[in-house]
């Protein structure tokens, strides 16, 4: 590689118990577009080199497994994991070479060794998410829990969301490149405060309806969606400001209640998606929001 002027960051993207939604979301990154991220510099003079990406690579089978084995040797890589890690290997086997079957758990162990940063992409990787939904049939774990169980100590950032917004991933990588991973401000759940610093409720354009006590009684009505199950009062993300898919829309903008998909409580402990949040959850966040009007 005749890359004298460039800083090259090896990136390895692997998938556990996932739905590929984290990938289809990040494919829709607007600025930078995914073609620029893969083929060009993400920042002036800084190139991400995708050593492994299951949905973009040509190779399959043995050769793909060999690419993973080589990627284990990449110093200072960024390892991006989407999907959860099951309690037992057979629930997610990811490759085979000769008689040896690889599992997502083994991949995470071997690829994290030389990684300088691990990113748990999406709520399954960050917190277990849908894959660990009650009754958690496969014992699915988040990357953080898996690291604790296996005594792996690596810098870890959670980019939660079902799916995560593409800016949350690439914006975090850009921030790491500019400031260093140690200087990223994270919340209690290892999420970058840049994107997860405020409640949806604090930033919501329907907030004035909430404060006035004007609540929609059925979907399609004008008013705050609180009574229809909106989880905005307990959910940290910047969706109201950032919006989705080229700023064409976002969940509450489309008249639907926020489901709390960036939260560790998702999907079981946010309550029914279309019913009012249970009061105990609001109380836990009481210092952040105003509930007098309810």
């Amino acid at each position: 590689m005749n890359q004298k002027e460039n800083k090259v960051i090896p990136v390895i993207s692997i998938q556990g118990q996932n739905c590929t939604g984290c990938v289809t979301s990040t494919l829709c990154s607007e600025y930078p577009a995914i073609k620029n991220i893969v083929l060009s510099d993400i920042l002036p003079g800084v190139k991400l080199d995708f050593l492994f990406h299951q949905n973009l690579m040509t190779a399959s089978g043995n050769l793909a497994v060999e690419m993973l084995e080589q990627a284990q040797q990449a110093e200072g890589s960024v390892l991006i994991i989407d999907g959860a890690i099951p309690g037992e290997g057979i629930y997610c086997s990811t490759g085979q070479k000769g008689q040896k079957t690889y599992t997502i758990a083994e991949e995470v162990v071997s690829l994290s060794k030389k990684a300088s940063l691990v990113i748990a992409l999406g709520t399954c990787a960050a917190f277990g998410g849908i894959s660990a939904g009650s009754p958690n049939p496969t014992g699915a774990q988040s990357v953080e829990d898996f690291f604790m169980t296996n005594s792996i100590d690596k810098p870890l950032i959670n980019i939660s969301g079902c799916p995560p917004h593409p800016d949350w991933l690439f914006g975090t990588i850009e921030e790491v490149l500019l400031k260093g991973a140690d200087n990223i401000q994270l919340d209690d759940f290892r999420r970058p405060k840049t994107f997860y610093g405020k409640l949806i409720h604090e930033q919501c354009p329907n907030r004035s309806y909430f404060d006035e006590g004007k609540f929609a009684k059925k979907l399609g009505d004008e008013g705050c969606l609180y009574e229809l199950g909106c989880k905005g009062p307990i959910t940290y993300a910047d969706c109201p400001i950032r919006q989705w898919n080229g700023k064409t829309n976002w969940v509450i903008g489309s008249g639907a209640p926020c489901s709390g998909c960036t939260q560790p409580e998702y999907p079981d402990f946010v309550g029914d998606f279309y019913d009012r949040i249970i009061d105990v959850q609001v109380a836990a966040n009481a210092k952040k929001i105003t509930t007098e009007n309810i």
């Binding site: 494919l27 037992e88 290997g89 490759g95 085979q96 079957t101 894959s131 079902c162």
Partner: protein, 511 residues
């Protein structure tokens, strides 16, 4: 006799493995394995029926929107709302589904399948002005090649100029995919996992500016489909014309009705057998067999009653995917089935004319559609039909009028929701007791297509498409991969089940 194992099969949705037995360059036997399991349907038990649309979309992040549509259709059916969804609501659901299906087909042909037919490394000789191609050329000149290289030996056949053009379209397809998803998000709320598709309709209110924003994005996507995607598929089908006779598969096709507006249906569902025999589908004849799946053995069950317990140490099993069968027979689903069923039903002359004229362009007949190249052509034609129809549907939206109807369900009941998904026939079966979900079953297109052998030893459609293929010696023969990818696998969709609460989950231990 040699056994070839390809695991992982990349550039698909999810985790899939194939074991093929090859003798004298011909595949004699094949086993397809879905290698990832989550148990999504178990998570639905005890939940509010309306929540199913949120959970079932997470079955698949490549094609969540058909799960949304099938799920709300099942809940509408249970709640007795099917006939009272406002026209706007019906229209919006169809628009979201159609637009995302077009995006999905573009993603499949270029990003997921494209590298089987064109070599991006050939762009190093490019001398034109296209910005994307020059960006790729610069990438190669600086010594980068991953994740495109290394690769196995592939018989790339397009000439250098055509290759460069198609590779340029591969890069452009990433932009068009994004724009198509933006268009659908105007009505759906976000991509992936739409929020606005709800029991009773769609929560998004309609305004004229949203319709216009949608239409102009659709226009750009439709232009790409008509003038780039279709010609590229035709060019590939001509250069690889032996692929119009390869990967034929089981030759039985099954489709559900797709894009229904009251009494009108764009795609007519049905069964196609012996190329020209058309019959309506009786969904009561669908059962799921688990002989070679990691679940406790049971009789084949109708999905409304299906309840299976995982058994990871089952000896004769090799997949997490079950084997859906129709009247005990193997059926293929997908755009090929959707189009040929509509073709034989003969109710939509425009569809028939488009299929006939496209086959003329390729120099092929209807029987050649049962093939690797034929599946790609069917998918592209479906995208073209949807792109042209969607503009009319958007134009008939009524700003300011209702998009939902009130949801006031009974305590107990059952519902079925069917959809013509981008990968074919999708069904959701819902049972409700005391206002909560008591059983939920999903049969996805990829479950039909990637299913393992059944109790009678009949291989599933992928397996049948691979068996008999002539392959070149390699650790991962491209002929096998092209056959599998022609179905557009979505394995997270295919793997799912329900277990009785408290059931044990097997004792298999790895790591």
């Amino acid at each position: 006799m040699k056994k070839i194992v390809i695991h992982p099969i990349t550039r698909i949705e999810g985790h899939l493995k194939v074991e093929a037995v090859v003798e004298n360059g011909v595949v004699k036997d094949a086993n397809m394995s879905g290698t990832m399991f989550r148990g999504i349907e178990m998570m639905l038990e005890g939940r509010d029926p309306r929540d199913a649309v949120m959970i079932t979309q997470r079955i698949c992040g490549v094609c969540p929107e058909p799960h949304a549509c099938a799920s709300v259709a099942a809940v509408d059916d249970y709640a007795g709302l099917t006939g009272s969804i406002p026209g706007n609501g019906v229209n919006l659901r169809n628009l979201i589904l159609a637009t995302r299906a077009i995006a999905d087909h573009i993603l499949h042909f270029y990003i997921l399948s494209g590298l089987d037919y064109v070599d991006p490394a050939k762009v190093s000789d490019y001398s034109g002005q296209d910005k994307d191609l020059n960006m790729l050329k610069g990438f190669l000149e600086k010594g980068y090649s991953k994740p495109f290289l290394p690769r196995d030996d592939i018989d790339y056949r397009l000439d250098d100029r055509t290759t460069q053009e198609v590779v340029g379209h591969y890069i452009k397809a990433m932009d068009i995919y994004r724009k198509a998803q933006e268009a659908a998000t105007i009505f759906g709320g976000k991509w992936p996992h739409d929020a606005a598709i709800v029991a009773g309709g769609v929560s998004e209110n309609i305004t004229a500016d949203k319709i216009t924003q949608f239409l102009w994005r659709l226009e750009e996507v439709a232009d790409f489909v008509e003038n780039i995607y279709i010609p590229d598929v035709v060019a590939v089908a001509k250069a690889y014309n032996d692929y119009l006779a390869m990967g034929t598969g089981c030759r039985n096709l099954l489709a559900y009705d797709g894009y229904t507006f009251g009494a009108r249906t764009l795609f007519k569902g049905g069964l196609v057998t012996n190329t020209s025999q058309y019959d309506p589908v009786d969904i009561e004849k669908i059962t799921e067999d688990v002989t070679h799946s990691w679940y406790e053995q049971s009789d084949e069950l109708y999905p409304g009653e299906g309840r299976t317990q995982p058994k990871a140490d089952k000896k004769e099993a090799y997949s997490w995917i079950k084997s859906p069968r129709y009247d005990g027979e193997v059926f293929e689903v997908g755009p090929l089935a959707t189009l040929l069923s509509t073709y034989l039903a003969g109710e939509n002359q425009k569809v028939n004319d488009l299929i006939d004229s496209s086959l003329d362009l390729v120099g092929a007949g209807i029987e050649d559609m049962y093939s690797i190249a034929g599946r790609h052509l069917a998918r592209a034609l479906e995208a073209k039909i949807l792109a042209s129809e969607a503009a009319g549907w958007a134009g008939s939206l009524k700003p300011g009028e209702p998009t939902t109807t009130e949801y006031d369900p009974p305590a107990d009941g059952k519902g079925i929701g069917l959809a013509a998904a981008p990968r074919g026939a999708l069904g959701h079966w819902l049972n409700v007791e005391n206002g909560r979900i008591s059983n939920y079953q999903v049969i996805t297109p990829t479950a039909w297509n990637a299913s393992p052998k059944d109790k009678d030893g009949q291989p599933g459609p992928y397996e049948q498409a691979i068996i008999g293929l002539k392959v070149k010696e390699s650790q991962a023969p491209v002929e096998i991969l092209r056959a599998i990818r022609s179905f557009d696998p979505c394995t997270a969709c295919a793997v799912h089940l329900t277990t009785p609460k408290g059931g044990t989950l097997g004792k298999y231990k790895v790591v």
